[in-house]
Amino acid sequence: MIKRFIIVLALAAIAVGLYPLAWGIQDAEILTEVANEYVENGADDLGAANLVTSVVVSYRGLDTLGEITVLFAATAGVTMLFAARKPKKSGQKGSLADDSRRTGSELLQTGADFLFPILWMFGMYIFVHGHLTPGGGFQGGVVLASAVLLLLFADSDRKMGHTLLQIAEALSGAAYVAVGLLGLWFAAGFLDPRFLAAGEFGQLFSAGAIPVIYALIGIKVGAELTGIVDTMRRSAL
């Protein structure tokens, strides 16, 4: 009883604290100083049509590297949690997977086989065009991983190349940092994409190294999330 009272009190306190924040606010008319700088000079500076991408990949590129690290830590955590101790083989296999698994229906299997290359291509399209249109490495990577998830739904015993997955993950991560260092060496700073030619504004080959960096991020995110999906699948087998 007293516990519930404290919870209600805490929530009420948070609500009262947030209330003036939401109530007094008006639609902003002008951008903050930093954002103004980005909007005013971002396009001429980096040559990317999508300003959000300029911020993610270049202006706040170091933050993105941190985000990738968090993603890596989460994947490592999932792997660690499942790899810690294998439940005993056969007999009592833990109640998670004691029912024999059904494979997917004919419809699902055919659909997954048919859709997989299309989804894969779509994901790559999203992260290669990240500097021109909404989307980018993170979204494209998630699409890649979801395509693999669809395949595993259709046939949960499908073999997957772990080595390939690990190589893709490690190489893209290392290449990401390497491209960042190239920026430090040939241009103004870490993750500065201007060491490659700017190209024509709004074209696929433009914005210096931004498409390269975003493609690497896409591969990295896709490999990490596929790793999570695969670890969960294997642990339940």
Binding site: A22, A35, A74, F82, M232
Partner: protein, 120 residues
């Protein structure tokens, strides 16, 4: 009521629901769902703060010429933050779910009360 206000209030409401769920539920899966709600609420708040009156997406094309964008586009920084935060949220949710699965396999219960080591 303006747009910023509506989005902020909805975001706060969603976060409060998430907080409430985290504090009152004992079931691990429900706590994870509450955490996702809290996450989404925070994303909405961040996006709401970045809104500019009548602003459009900060992407240059035929409709939005370079050089005249100031005052016409929303703040790109919160958008960039939320863009990455959504994917990170997905991975963190996966981590929490794996923990829930581990707790269930070792203790045959999804209640947080089964994890006595967490109490002090």
């Amino acid at each position: 009521m303006n747009i910023t206000q509506i989005v902020l209030i909805l975001g706060f409401l969603l976060s409060l629901i998430g907080f409430w769920g985290l504090l009152t539920r004992r079931d691990l899966f429900r706590m994870i769902i509450s955490f996702s709600l809290l996450d989404t609420g925070v994303h909405m708040i961040m996006i709401g703060i970045g809104y500019i009156k009548g602003g459009t997406a900060p992407i240059f094309d035929e409709a939005l010429a370079v050089g005249e964008a100031v005052g016409k586009v929303v703040d790109p920084v919160p958008s960039a933050l939320v863009l990455t935060a959504i994917v990170i949220g997905l991975a963190v949710t996966a981590l929490m779910l794996s923990y829930a699965v581990r707790v269930y396999t070792s203790r045959k219960s999804l209640s947080i009360d089964a994890v006595k080591e967490l109490k002090w």
